[in-house]
Symmetry: C2
Subunit: 462 residues, 2 copies
């Protein structure tokens, strides 16, 4: 009985899977401030055309360039583990598997898209990438990927994270990136905020504004902007996770899983594992697919599907997605990567159509699950990943109660070695759960008034 299954490099997926080709109703376009669809040309100052083409592509399979594969091969295919120790601890008849994305140099799944984005930018003659980062996972992934292609990389890091997470900043600097606290004095957007609020802790919205401005105002025209989640091409690049997992489950002697679980913030690690299995489900397989989000940021479970802004300050187009309102401020839970007000349009639409069964779990249950996981399987997972672990434990416990041999697979999206402060707070009894009153959520959603309606409906097939 194997504990882990690898694939050889020959068995790596050579194509990404694009779920947009298979969704029952077509994805609705992003809209500009005037309510008209955003055209590819309008995005050209921000992204290279090859990524814009992927963003709107209806092709089911898209080739992965050899140069991208050769860098992914530094840590991919990543291992799929059978969680024998956890199963034994839970006394469950379920067979639990987890895909270990923590083995990448940056410690998470984020480099899967960072490498692809750096490659396409390099191909387009871009010399420098800008981005924002909150918790720091994405900034460090893009810094790593930029070094692989000899690109300059500029990261605007939310000031409070910059101050609280010196190790993330040091990772970026070691890979040669320039990481500055946001708001900074380097952009008009940053200077404007600092003039008004010199002591602001910053926000992801402000950092996005700075990163986009730094890209589009480069006088040499050699800078583009890069985003680590939410967008269609980011989901696409992450599907290597699920494609590998399918092959590895076969090597374990499993046909298809009964239950697929990932944590969901912007949606990229979840989609990476889940979309290839959603493909099977669209083709008739019986699979329950569960995105797990924090109860304190219940985008999929309590937010409507609607057109909303991607950021606080309105720099982005309107996107059709589950949202809590672009002015929503999540409580300061430690899973910083899951505090986004919206959700990837592809994930959101798959929820509306009934392909996915979202669930929210409270922070304390997630940390308890993470502690159990560390002491059984041995890996200290990221606070974000703890939501997937908690979901898997819920399902394995249900399988025990029902006496069913379920096959459960979840995505171990990252390790928590650079984010241990949350564990400290949990062990010290300093964490609390928070459930939003409905009135408060409703109040936030008033910000959507006047925006066009998003039209997708439940397909009724699932």
């Amino acid at each position: 009985m194997a504990t882990r299954v690898f694939l050889s490099e020959d068995e790596m997926p050579r194509q990404w899977y694009n779920i947009a080709a298979d969704l029952p109703s077509p994805l609705q376009p992003p809209l500009g401030p005037d309510g008209n669809p955003v055209t590819p040309e309008m995005l050209a100052p921000i992204f290279p055309m090859s990524l814009i083409e992927q963003e709107v592509s209806q092709e089911r399979w898209i080739d992965i360039p050899e140069e991208v594969l050769s860098i992914l091969a530094k840590w991919r295919p990543s291992p799929l583990h059978r969680a024998y120790s956890l199963e034994k601890f839970l006394g469950t008849p379920a067979r639990i598997y987890y895909k270990n994305e923590s083995v990448s140099p940056a410690g998470s799944h984020k480099p899967n898209t960072a490498v692809a984005q750096a490659y396409y930018n390099k191909q387009a003659g871009v010399k420098r990438l800008t981005t924002e980062t909150g918790a720091g996972q994405w900034g460090s992934a893009l810094a790593f990927a930029s070094a692989q292609f000899g690109l300059e990389c500029k990261v605007f890091m939310v000031r409070i994270s910059f101050d609280q997470k010196p190790y993330r900043k040091l990772m970026m600097q070691t890979w040669g990136a320039d990481c500055v606290p946001s708001p900074s004095t380097e952009t008009q957007a940053g200077r404007d905020v600092l003039a008004k609020y010199p002591d602001t802790p910053g926000s992801l919205g402000i950092a996005i504004s700075e990163a986009v401005e730094a890209a589009v105002t480069d006088p040499r025209g050699e800078t583009k902007y890069s985003l680590g989640s939410v967008l269609n091409h980011v989901m696409l690049h992450q599907t290597v996770i699920g494609l590998e997992t399918r092959k590895q489950l076969e090597k374990f002697g499993e046909k298809l899983p009964d239950i697929v679980i990932g944590c969901a913030g912007g949606g990229s690690n979840f989609a990476g594992l889940a979309f290839p299995f959603a493909h099977e489900k669209i083709n008739g397989a019986d699979i329950e697919i569960i995105p797990v989000e924090p109860s304190s940021c219940p985008t999929l479970t309590r937010g409507p599907f609607a057109y909303d802004l991607g950021d606080f300050s309105g720099m982005t187009p309107l996107l059709p997605m589950h949202t809590l309102g672009h002015n929503f401020v999540a409580p300061p839970i430690h899973a910083g990567g899951l505090r986004y007000h919206g959700m990837a349009p592809l994930v959101s639409q798959a929820v509306v159509e009934g392909l996915l069964n979202p669930r929210s779990i409270h922070q304390l249950e997630c940390y308890e699950a993470a502690m159990t996981f560390a002491r059984t399987e041995g890996i200290i997972v990221a606070p974000e990943t703890s939501h997937a672990v908690a979901g898997a434990i819920q399902e394995a416990t249900r399988a025990r109660e029902e006496g069913k041999e379920k096959v459960i697979v979840f995505n171990l999206s990252g390790h928590g070695l650079v984010d241990l402060k949350g564990y400290e707070a949990y062990m010290n009894g300093e964490l609390h759960d928070y459930e939003f009153p409905q009135e408060e959520l409703d109040e936030n959603l008033k910000a959507l008034e006047g925006f066009p309606r998003a039209e997708t409906v439940k397909s009724g097939r699932w």
Copy 2:
């Protein structure tokens, strides 16, 4: 051309390699304070008998218990990487390989022996392990391993590290270990030191004293002590590294390497990779085997082979080893794991007999090598590991100058994600090199006066 080669679990080594069976002259025994050899019985209050038997064993191959293998399988066999990006950067005809021990849950090679030691203690009915830790790598590895076997674990962490490295402490606590700063008020040894020096930053010597005392004074008799390097059984447990590497090199199409490199502090990661290749060398293969140590702690390159204490305060027996004197205090370089005054007796004797070619490298060159490695291969290595990287770069550069297709393999003993402060100091230009004047080293060695002489001589075969 593969970037990484794995082995399946079926191909994992089932036996450890014991170089004591193959050294030209027999290993000299540890001596007690009276100058007489320490008998196995004298060690019984500290270690379980199965480990003491391994400590003195002359068997060449020792079976790895199934229970140990099943836990090692959570991350072993670890990958062997071909360093294409580094080779290209250096423009070398050498083929560079590295064994990636950073993929363990604790991020280094240390769990290889921690799991074995926890297993044998559990078998012997032990309920609780004590140990000391300086930089924190060993303490976290033993905490992880203790959780795997349901053992309690108590770690005495040198106070200055305890204060400076909160993440290491949090890792141990997450795995359920009790980690206290040393000197502590929990032992007589700790209380004595605190009474005299209430503001002491602590030392490894003091922490060892506390850990041993806490083991031998347990009124229930259910506590033993565990050590993470130096001892023969620790070297033994680490040989899975080199045994796997040999098989993986074959899969890469290589027969044997020309050059084998590891960083050396107490000696365990170096021995783990090198001893199986030293076995080939003893049997006639032409391999240069290089332990790399910091120039500021030049145990192998400038210290004599002599009987000396393993710790500062004389709690340990006299060991036959290369040493700078047990009162040697290394400068505060960031490779905390390489600041030990002595070296494993097995490594020391292999040096005296001419099997190994030790080398020292200065800190700045090591960090420069680590930065190059991070930006080419992508992995941020531990400050200790940077010495092996620097050694490999020296050899690859020489191969370029000589136009030779050398096969170089080194041990990537751990990642540096929890030890990034050293990188910060390097990038800020705050680090300096330090070369000890000979008089200073000579002065330290006066502490050895009156100790018995160690007798091993160069065999003349190499």
